[in-house]
Amino acid sequence: MSWLWEIFKATLAAVAVFTFLALVGAMLGVYLERKISGWIQSRLGPKHVGPQGILQTVADTVKLLQKENIVPTNADAITFNVAPLMAAVAGLLAWIIIPFGPIFGRVVIVRDINIGLLFFIAMASLIVIAILLGGWSSNNKYALLGGFRSASQMISYEIPLALAVLVPVMMAGTLSTVGIVEAQRGGWLGIGNWFIFGLPGNRWLLIPGALAFLVFFTAATAEVNRVPFDLPEAESELVAGYFSEYTGMRFALFQLGEYAEAFAMAALTTVLFLGGWHGPLLPGVVWFFTKMFALVFVLMWVRWTYPRLRLDQLLHLSWKGLVPLGFVLVLVTGWLLI
């Protein structure tokens, strides 16, 4: 009956990760976004609810809980309800393979799946379906158009994402996240062996390494529909895009899925390119979270720095820019490794 005990442990882990995502990803993430946006725009952001406005998102969640449940006429009720659930669950499942760092010698990770990176990309592609169904089921022209545009954007950027992932995979020789972080162990001050700087014996790999980091981060920004790639949900364009008709808690679930995916992308970038939990003096877990939050800060910083790309510019950037660049990077990495 040991599998019953394993199911119990898995349930505990799932509840823990979901709570972590709801607290850190959604609540802290939304609060950080509003505060950082405020500072960049020379204003203060939320300040009244709780000390320095920390409880603002809690208040917002309580507000959303008591909003009326409105389903538009002629909307497909089943799909309308399934879509946000699917988005939230796919965002949650992506966190299974993220390693947080060693505590008492063992790496804290839910499960180190052998095909970890492939699994992550597969979860990112499931969110596309959730968005498409959400847009269609609202029975709203704007929502459907937003769903199409968002789906087109996300599928266009999945290819550069997968290609950029291939570069650290080639340098490490494994698809397992723990394996990739372990391959970046050691080096000068614990930093020298990060894949963004190439391999210790082969410093020329810094060029494809750093470029692959940029390609991955750009594709990740587009995957989570953030500025400069947020045309599908821009207020000035399509109201709110595919979630125009979603109110209250369903809207919160879509947002949870998006923020969970954004944090997961930041976490995966640190695992693939920035050495995961490796670094000088401080314990590994601290380094991991520092790097992850630094990348999240960069995501939010980019939001208020660049103008929004038009849809055709966005698609051209992917298909005519990042995809050929990704192929070239893979071949160059292969050539340099020989």
Binding site: D76, I113, N114, A122, S125, L132, F148, L175
Partner: protein, 163 residues
């Protein structure tokens, strides 16, 4: 025992949405039911210890092909979700043909002495597949790229014929 339970659950997850695909009166719901069916098949691959194939199944089928099918349906008249009858006058004959085919397949499956392969799949699935691609099956690997090229060109020619 646990594996049998997992197999039954996965078989239900695969077959019930598949039944919904062929009987649903709403085309978009039919296409949407493909997704849990594909995920069930991925689970069955995992039970067969083929992790890599399971990952590819989720990524390609549920993530790419289901999206393509949904795009196509939503761009055509089926996108309104109007009720479509999934049956015609030849239901009885069709049912008899399906039953005969089922009987034939069952007889075939139950009477063959399936030889069991010795050993088990290598634990490092991806590395084994990679080595096979690059040594034993390299011709198939390169020809599959030509097949992909041909299908890309063919699909674009057909899709753009109206221009």
């Amino acid at each position: 025992m646990g594996e049998l339970g997992a197999f039954i659950i996965l078989a239900l997850v695969t077959l019930l949405p598949a039944a919904a695909v062929v009987t649903s009166r709403n085309l978009v719901r039919a296409a949407m039911s493909l997704v849990p069916s594909f995920l069930g098949v991925a689970g069955l691959f995992v039970l067969l210890q083929a992790e890599f194939v399971a990952g590819i199944q989720i990524l390609i089928y549920a993530g790419a092909i289901a999206v393509l099918i949904l795009f196509v349906i939503m761009l055509t008249a089926g996108g309104t979700g109007t009720a479509v009858r999934q049956a015609n006058e030849q239901r009885v004959v069709g049912g008899l043909a399906a039953a005969a085919l089922t009987a034939a397949l069952l007889a075939l499956l139950l009477r063959t002495a399936w030889p069991l392969a010795a050993g088990s799949l290598p634990r490092a699935n991806v590395a084994a597949v990679g080595s096979a691609f690059l040594t034993t099956f390299v011709l198939a690997f390169e020809i599959s790229s030509v097949v992909l090229l041909v299908s890309l060109v063919g699909a674009l020619v057909i899709a753009r014929r109206e221009r």
